[in-house]
């Protein structure tokens, strides 16, 4: 049965006990993302401390995959630099969109390697990406604001 390959214990654990759930203040940017086919949604906030991700907080409705993915995400990025977070994000995205072709690097992805199985279920890839898309979007917004502030200072 392939089901256990998809729903690995790590995923079910994160699903049942999600890390860093809830929306917290202060934050630098927020993103709202939806999956129009199933109605899942996530609101995710990023708080930065200089170049470092200080906190990621979120409120989400969704399936086990999307809930767990967002929970794991916070473990992987909180406390890291933006650059580190981005390269983790890219590795993760590459893995889940690879249709099982990419062997994940456990050093980089840690718990997130559990999501390798999702890549074999194209319809679920969006679930595994929902929180990450929100993170990507929020980080982008934060950067824009930062630039804006920077430009404003420069004048």
């Amino acid at each position: 049965m392939k089901l256990e390959q998809l729903y690995q214990e790590i995923i079910l654990d994160h699903y049942r006990n999600p890390h860093r759930q809830g929306l917290r203040e202060p934050f630098d940017a927020e993103s709202y993302q939806i999956n129009p086919t199933c109605g899942d949604e996530v609101t995710l906030r990023v708080a930065l401390d200089g170049d470092r991700v200080a906190d990621v907080s979120y409120d989400a409705i969704g399936c086990s995959i999307s809930q767990a993915a967002t929970s794991v995400l916070t473990d992987l990025v909180v406390g890291r630099t933006l650059d580190e977070s981005r390269s983790t994000m890219n590795a993760y995205m590459e893995m889940v969109q690879s249709r099982g072709q990419v062997e994940p690097d456990e050093d980089v992805l840690q718990d997130a390697v559990a999501f390798a199985g999702v890549s074999r279920y194209p319809a679920r890839v969006k679930c595994a990406l929902l929180g990450w898309m929100a993170f990507k979007d929020a980080v982008g917004r934060a950067a824009e604001q930062g630039n804006g502030a920077h430009q404003a200072e420069a004048r």
């Binding site: 392939k2 729903y7 199933c38 109605g39 899942d40 995959i65 279920y121």
Partner: protein, 428 residues
């Protein structure tokens, strides 16, 4: 639906029918037999439909309504014969049947024809909408019978209003009073989520009382029971070929003759014209006026064959068979702890779409477990997001039946739901 005189299909009839559908004998996920319970999204197609389409393409293919050579004559004949048989299947005249690409286009055709009546120099009073006018739908509509009306309101300034849905999943007829400004009442003939069949006659009576046009979304009724649009006294109705054993890429808009005759066109181009000059054009009579360009020719022929197939089985018997499956599914699901069925739980005025949730397991997760067992259901809001929101849910699992489904497949579904509970540890 009240009990029908016809008998459900016998096991041997069912076996014969299933043998006509090549896909039903395939396996999925590590060799499990396919249990296809997603006919509400799209049905499978029998050999007879595929053969009719192929024979047409291999022998008679030509652009219809355009040529005078022998192939063109034969293609015209096949296309118009399909139209006539499809019209008869739903109790109307061939000239009242317009081929569209799907039901969605049919509803858009009506909504755009109305706004086309509302702009330019020659307002068509009968159809023109303006601020203050109302368009009425229901809270249980498929997006296809909701969003086009929202857009019509946006284009014309009219206001969208809607009948609400009761906790039991029925239309609340007291939730809305029509008015003299109500111009259109559009509603489903059968909810694609809950199976609910609304009181069509009463809705039509109320609409016509205030002079409103009625539009029936018959996507989920025509494939499953006898339907007669003339008897229903409806003004417009739509359905899709792919949900009734026919090809994708073809749908039908029915329009009462005297309305089609005066309705302005929607999509314009070749074959729908009367006279074309650079300065302006005039348009052909219906149904041609609404069929611009080379149409879905072989698909219409395929849909004709689908209608022949359904008629040969007999729609009363199809309905009796599907009702029996639905009753068993409702009863079985009701007994499973944690299962919540959306809408009517008995077969009265209800068709064979059964949507439910299982504890707080997300529909995607439940659907995944079922898929792993070879059971194809839909896990989504089923394009009826407002209805799901009304019930406080993002998504549900939907099992939907067609004439080729078996009682054993219903039992497989019930066992699968138990497996979902076990896998996700849903408390009893």
């Amino acid at each position: 639906m009240t009990a029908l005189a016809a008998a459900p299909l016998t096991a041997s009839e069912l076996e014969k029918i299933r043998a006509d559908f090549p896909i039903l004998s395939r396996t999925v996920r590590d060799g499990r037999p396919l249990v296809y319970l997603d006919s509400g999204a799209t049905s499978q197609r029998p050999r007879q439909v595929l053969d009719a389409e192929r024979a047409f393409v291999e022998q008679h293919n030509a652009a219809v309504h355009r040529g005078a050579h022998q192939l063109a004559e034969e293609a015209d004949e096949a296309y118009e014969s399909a139209r006539a048989r499809i019209a008869a299947f739903v109790g109307v005249q061939p000239g009242e049947v317009v081929f569209t690409k799907n039901a969605t286009e049919g509803i858009n055709l009506v909504s755009y024809a109305l706004s086309n009546s509302s702009v330019g120099k020659e307002l068509l009073e009968r159809f023109a909408l303006a601020a203050g006018d109302e368009v009425v739908v229901t809270e249980m509509e498929h997006h296809a019978n909701l969003v086009p009306w929202q857009e019509l309101c946006r284009r014309t300034g009219a206001t969208l209003r809607w009948y609400r849905v009761t906790d039991a999943g029925r239309l609340d007829l007291d939730s809305l009073q029509l008015s003299d400004r109500t111009r259109v009442v559009a509603f489903t003939h059968q909810s694609n989520v809950m199976g609910t069949i609304p009181p069509v006659a009463e809705l039509v009576r109320r609409a016509h009382e205030v002079g409103a046009l009625t539009v029936l979304d018959a996507c989920q009724s025509v494939p499953h029971r006898p339907v007669d649009f003339a008897a229903l006294d409806i003004d417009f109705a739509v359905f899709s070929g792919h949900k009734m054993l026919g090809p994708s890429g073809v749908g039908v808009l029915y329009g009462r003759r005297e309305l089609l005759e005066v309705l302005p066109p929607f999509i314009t181009g070749g074959s729908m014209i009367e006279l074309v000059k650079m300065e302006g054009s005039t348009y052909a009579p219906p149904p041609q006026r609404f069929e611009a360009g080379v149409p879905m020719t072989s698909q219409a022929v395929g849909l004709g064959a689908a209608v022949d197939y359904l008629s040969a089985v007999g729609m009363e018997r199809v309905a009796a068979h599907e009702d029996a499956l639905t009753e068993r599914a409702l009863a079985g699901l009701s007994e499973i702890p944690g299962v919540r069925i959306l809408g009517p739980t008995d077969i009265h005025d209800r068709g064979g779409a059964v949507s439910f949730s299982i504890g707080d397991v997300h529909a995607h997760d439940a659907g995944q477990v079922l898929d792993d067992l070879g059971i194809a259901v839909r896990a989504s809001h089923h394009c009826a997001w407002p209805l799901h929101r009304r019930f406080g849910l993002a998504a549900t699992v939907r099992a939907s039946f067609a004439l080729y489904n078996t009682p054993a497949e219903v039992e497989a579904l019930l066992a699968g739901v138990q497996e979902v509970r076990r896998f996700f540890r849903v408390p009893a």
